[in-house]
């Protein structure tokens, strides 16, 4: 009888919906209908994300390039794959990725995290995690006692639970659980706590949303970026590539900046945009340059620093479970 009750408790727990602890008026992330958020899938995704079985040579996991303390970036200009191959782009933050319409620097077609996860897992140009179909990855999960329980709770109604489709579903659920909504700016803006940010940050917020700077036109919404539009930022006089405007949440801890990690500081980024970038025929017309006094520049940086959410950087729910 006691065993039966315990079994029931596990089954009930496995289907428990995941709830974000969001402040009032903060938007709720979008979730695809075919992959609802459950506590069990989020937990499985966390184990997978920190597991080096996820790479061909067992040297890397998702967390190798997405470190919690760096807002799930890696601190390097460009990402380095598990075989040492350098990516051409920097590792993007996973914080609030649930709100993003675009999931890569410049690929508009990938709009679901379940699809995006396949790129680092199986992509060959460049190799990131280097997995290949039939290489024994799923077998290594199936033979692991920890994963047997995790997969059973995450996908209790499936007979063949150990599939790539379920792996990416779980990883996507974990990614969607990583929500930053408790920064000092959030307490100021959503909870109306005037003491949460400095007067300098308050002035910087107004600059951010003002016409001459127009930062908000690309980095808009509650997530300060991640929208569906792509832009050429005038980073070079020859590169015609357009890029998404990533979230600015926790931006103070995600240096170096830009898609190629070419700018070491926020000050350097502001220098780039205030100068109007490098002219090229593809540069977004919004990048036309502006003037800031030294005080205004400090205010704008203070505002950006107010977007750092220490809670999400240290929340044990997002930490390595192994």
């Amino acid at each position: 009888m006691r065993f039966g009750l315990a079994l029931c408790a596990v089954l009930v727990c496995s289907g428990e919906n995941y709830h974000w602890d969001l402040p009032a008026r903060f938007p709720v992330p979008r979730v695809p209908a075919d992959n609802p958020m459950t506590v069990a899938k989020v937990e499985l995704g966390r184990y997978l994300s920190y597991d080096k079985r996820m790479s061909v040579n067992r040297k890397s996991s998702c967390a190798t390039c997405h470190k919690q303390e760096l807002a799930f970036t890696d601190g390097h200009p460009v990402a380095v794959g598990t075989t040492g191959e350098h990516h051409t782009r920097g590792a993007m933050s996973l914080v609030n990725v649930a709100y993003s319409s675009a999931l890569t620097w410049n690929t508009a077609g990938i709009t679901r995290l379940e699809d995006q996860a396949l790129v680092p897992m199986f992509g060959e140009h460049p190799i990131e995690l280097g997995l290949r179909p039939g290489d024994g990855f799923l077998l290594s999960l199936r033979s692991n006692a920890k994963y047997q329980g995790l997969f059973e709770r995450a996908f209790p109604e499936e007979t063949d639970r150990f599939t790539i489709a379920n792996v990416v579903k779980a990883v996507a659920c974990f990614e969607r659980s990583i929500v930053s909504a408790r920064s000092p700016y959030d307490r100021y803006h959503y909870e109306r706590d005037d003491s949460a940010v400095s007067d300098s940050a308050k002035r910087g917020e107004i600059l951010f949303f003002s016409q001459p700077q127009s930062c908000f036109r690309c980095h808009g919404g509650a997530n300060f970026g991640g929208g569906p539009e792509f832009h050429n930022t005038g980073l070079s006089a020859t590169d015609a590539t357009i890029f998404q405007a990533p979230t600015l949440r926790n931006i103070a801890v995600t240096a170096p900046y830009m898609h190629d990690g070419s700018m070491p500081t926020l000050d350097a980024v502001i220098n780039h945009y205030s100068a109007g970038g490098h002219d090229n025929p593809h540069k977004d017309p919004l990048i036309g340059g502006f003037h800031l006094t030294a005080e205004q520049r400090a205010d704008l940086i203070a505002f950006l620093q107010s977007l750092t959410d220490e809670a999400v950087l240290h929340d044990p729910r997002f930490a390595n479970p192994w």
């Binding site: 008026r25 308050k202 003002s210």
Partner: protein, 160 residues
């Protein structure tokens, strides 16, 4: 505390003092300045719109039409002939500007409920949004919902 007093207190708390929040000027008999207490005593309206993140947000304030009427802009029976070439240039503190025609807000023409809001979800607007902003419920894009609104410039194009 009466409703109007409560609104007045809310807005004054946000801006600190009863300073001029909005100036209406241009082709009207004389300029009009409005403080928080003036807006609190005018007819109040609430409109619900969807924000950029898909959330339903309630804005409360005074209809643009009411403010233009108070400034003696040509509305109603006066809005005919040359007066129909009159527009309103809405200017923000940061230099942003958009325009509306008088016919857009007049009850006998488009009758749009464009709002000069001082509250969002019952709280005074602050920071980059306030103390006043426009809300245009029927605009598909948000670009005319001017934040940090300071001035309404009335311009009649056809003078002769």
């Amino acid at each position: 505390m009466s409703r109007r007093l409560a609104v007045f207190a809310l807005v004054c708390t946000a801006i600190g003092t009863a300073q001029t929040l909005l100036t209406v000027q241009g082709d009207i008999p004389s300029p009009v300045t409005l403080k928080a207490e003036d807006l609190a005593q005018m007819p109040r309206e609430t409109v619900t719109v969807q924000d950029q993140d898909g959330a339903q947000v309630k804005y409360t304030g005074v209809l643009l039409r009411e403010v233009l009427t108070r400034a003696a802009a040509p509305l109603g029976k006066q809005l005919r002939g040359k007066a129909l070439t009159t527009y309103v240039l809405a200017k923000a503190k940061d230099g942003y500007q958009v325009l509306f025609s008088l016919a857009e807000v007049d009850t006998t023409f488009a009758n749009e409920s464009i709002l000069i809001a001082d509250q969002r979800d019952g709280k005074a607007l602050f920071g980059y949004q306030g103390p006043l902003r426009l809300v245009c419920p029927n605009d598909k894009a948000g670009a005319r919902s001017v934040r940090m609104l300071e001035t309404l410039e009335i311009v009649q194009l056809q003078k002769k």
